[in-house]
Symmetry: C2
Subunit: 437 residues, 2 copies
């Protein structure tokens, strides 16, 4: 099966940032067979005319919680929202069917917005993985482990068991790459963390966790160990190349140096961090140290949209201001983070993140027919400052055409209706908890 | 002619923030005849079913330059971009037909994104006004006056003449409110500024100008007068209720106190300010002083999109971080700034900015059928964090249904094609200037 995408402005996002102004790209089964400016018409089954569109690698979302769609726009501004609102509501109301439908919805939201690979830590992960398989998104998924009762485990030990079982179940999947996800540095002790790392090393998976995100987390490590969370992870031998550290808002030069030496990756979530007034992570410095960084939308509870175009624009504005430098982060560099940067952070850049012969066919078409995407002088600037999820017209994951002319194979409306029914009790409980705050 | 909009979630944005969950609104000619929760079906010519949509006042864009669509995405990151790139290119290439087509495009971009009133300072203002009338957007427009040769005037004196002629020509227009627009505090001397203010006072118009935006502007006033730009305006008797001050990024407590005493309004442009690394204006403090503040997109050259949903989201993230307070600016307060706040800043709140009986029928329907606008728990949060321009389905200005089911009366595509032809030389000149930098 060979598909030709022709006449689009191809941004390969490879190491040389090669572009083809009226380019041609051939998909053969699940791989890219050709990308360049030569016309290829032999043995083509389907031709897609991408005239006027940008053709680029699918974006990589390095941090989200797909099960949290029902929480979107509830209690946005509640101080200490995680502990006072999200944890109690999750414990009371989250269940396997809600997690499944929410994840299915989130996967479609991401696909329709040009995200072809996502990274998720949540609960009921078999159901989350099923949602990803059914919708056709590539996903790195890990069961959350936390030292408290959760919606799917009595304690962290049960969480560890679920996590390892999940890894063994899904380790040979086409789209799913399993991993493990201890919740955060301050919600698990060193013993639990070390056990999670042992599982990650034994199965050679990534380990993702929230790091240096919260003021109270920073205070806890300072007061208890006279360390930063990053230093603490290193002290318990859990800082290594398996780690995908989400947030890292409060990291100093010593932390960054350690993270570089230990080959840690970062999932940077600009929208969710700023919405919670947690600050702006020093991404320019992370990149100067050579630390791989990708963008994360965070959950719909936190960032409210899974649209990585929003993350790109917010990132540009935030970093330029943080460092008071208008020339910092030209748009091209930001599109790189959203694609190849994310792939590197997930250790998947051998397969995805750029349009190169032999790589997986994870490809999106961004249609530039909306008001703010004209004139198309500079496609990178258009992507960062002018476009949004609604501009994505076509999406391929693993060679499968999962979004065609803005419609996903599984209709969003159907999932939405099912989710709306399922979340009735959830909404009532949310209102009750919010009223009590 | 009576139109009924029924079943929508009506956010009136009046002083009491009244809402109607399944509300009814009747438009009679150019006015709102009824808003409430009683079913009204007598003498209705047209019924619009707004089920699933948010019905709200059209948004107010308090600062833009409609003629600058061709500049979008050119030289985004060039330091000192205004003087090194924008001014030379404007002088060389801007002309009346380019300004007209660009303004027409910009007006459609705003209408399609739910902006029903805009504020513009540029050149060839008769042509800009014509573009607004033809597309059907309400507009406050002023000829730019600056002490250098421009694309439509040899010097500031000719600019003043053009400005006054523009006011007299358009003062009795249905949609256009003329004003005057000396460019900035540091690009006109006190004499020119005073003459512009004299014209504004004699014709009782607003006067808009860029204030406290640039580092070199701040340094100039400090070094030359030992004053801030706001203090300088006051010292030349030009700080009064006619002033709509754009940006005001670098204002101190004394400035704010002065601005409040003199009844000055502010056009806050969060996206353009941050994109140029100019900082985040202290809007919370402005509002604490009681200074009216509205949002501005700034020109497509600076903010890259005229989408005020982007301004709302960016504003939320920026202010919460500037003041390190997650609870600051709940979404409802931000929607207020985008509607009634903007109307107050323009002294038009007697006529627009909220849905109230007797006010002008400037109304938008925001359809919540896109992925990130579900669940619709809190419509304000959805508007600020989940929606974008593409969610706007219907727009009324002055009772005229100018956007119907996402299509404007004048087709965007037609204007785009004409503009594309017209801007050919412009693009070549832009490339030449950028290459020389």
């Amino acid at each position: 099966m060979r598909t030709l995408i022709e006449n689009g402005w191809i941004l390969t996002m490879d190491e040389d940032m090669q572009e083809y102004r009226k380019g041609h790209l051939v998909i053969e089964d699940d791989r890219i067979a050709y990308v360049g400016d030569v016309t290829v018409h032999e043995d083509i089954d389907t031709i897609i005319d991408a005239d006027g569109a940008i053709v680029m690698p699918g974006m990589v979302n390095t941090h989200t919680h797909m099960g949290m769609i029902p929480y979107r726009s509830l209690g946005d501004d509640v101080p200490d929202r995680l502990r006072r609102f999200l944890f109690p509501l999750e414990l009371e109301c989250m269940n396997d069917s809600l997690a499944y439908l929410s994840s299915k919805y989130a996967a479609l939201e991401m696909l329709l917005g040009g995200v072809t690979t996502c990274t998720d830590m949540y609960y009921f992960m078999d159901r989350v993985a099923l949602a990803c398989e059914e919708t056709g998104i590539r996903a790195l998924l890990g069961e959350t482990i936390i030292q408290q009762e959760t919606c799917d485990a009595m304690d962290a030990n049960e969480g560890l068991q679920l996590a390892e079982r999940f890894i063994t179940t899904w380790k040979n999947s086409r789209l799913i790459t399993p991993m493990i996800a201890p919740h955060a540095t301050n919600t698990n002790d060193g013993n639990i963390f070390a056990q999670a790392m042992e599982i990650a090393m034994r199965h050679d998976t990534m380990l993702t966790t929230h790091v240096a995100e919260m003021d109270y987390e920073m205070a806890y490590f300072r007061d208890t160990y006279d360390m930063t969370p990053v230093e603490w992870l290193d002290s318990i031998h859990c800082l290594n190349e398996h780690i995908l550290a989400a947030h890292c808002i409060q990291v100093n030069d010593n932390d960054l140096s350690l993270m570089k030496r230990r080959n840690v990756s970062v999932a940077h979530c600009p929208v969710s961090n700023m919405k919670a007034a947690k600050g702006i992570a020093p991404v320019r410095d992370m990149e100067r140290y050579g630390i791989p960084v990708g963008f994360g939308s965070d959950g719909a509870s936190s960032g409210n949209t899974l649209d990585l175009f929003v993350s790109m624009r917010t990132f540009a504005l935030a970093q330029k201001n943080r460092y008071q430098d208008r020339a910092l982060y030209p748009a091209k560099e930001i599109v790189r983070i959203a694609t190849l940067g994310g792939a590197k952070a997930l250790h998947l850049d051998h397969a995805i993140g750029s349009l190169e012969k032999g790589k997986k066919a994870d490809i999106i078409l961004v249609n530039c027919d909306s008001p703010s995407t004209f004139p198309l002088h500079d496609p990178y600037s258009t992507l960062v400052y002018g476009a949004n999820a609604a501009n994505v017209s076509d999406v391929f994951v693993d060679g499968v055409h999962v979004v065609q002319q803005r419609r996903s194979r599984i209709q969003l409306r159907d999932v939405r209706e099912a989710l709306e029914v399922e979340m009735h009790d959830f909404y009532e409980a949310a209102q009750r908890i919010l009223t009590g705050l």
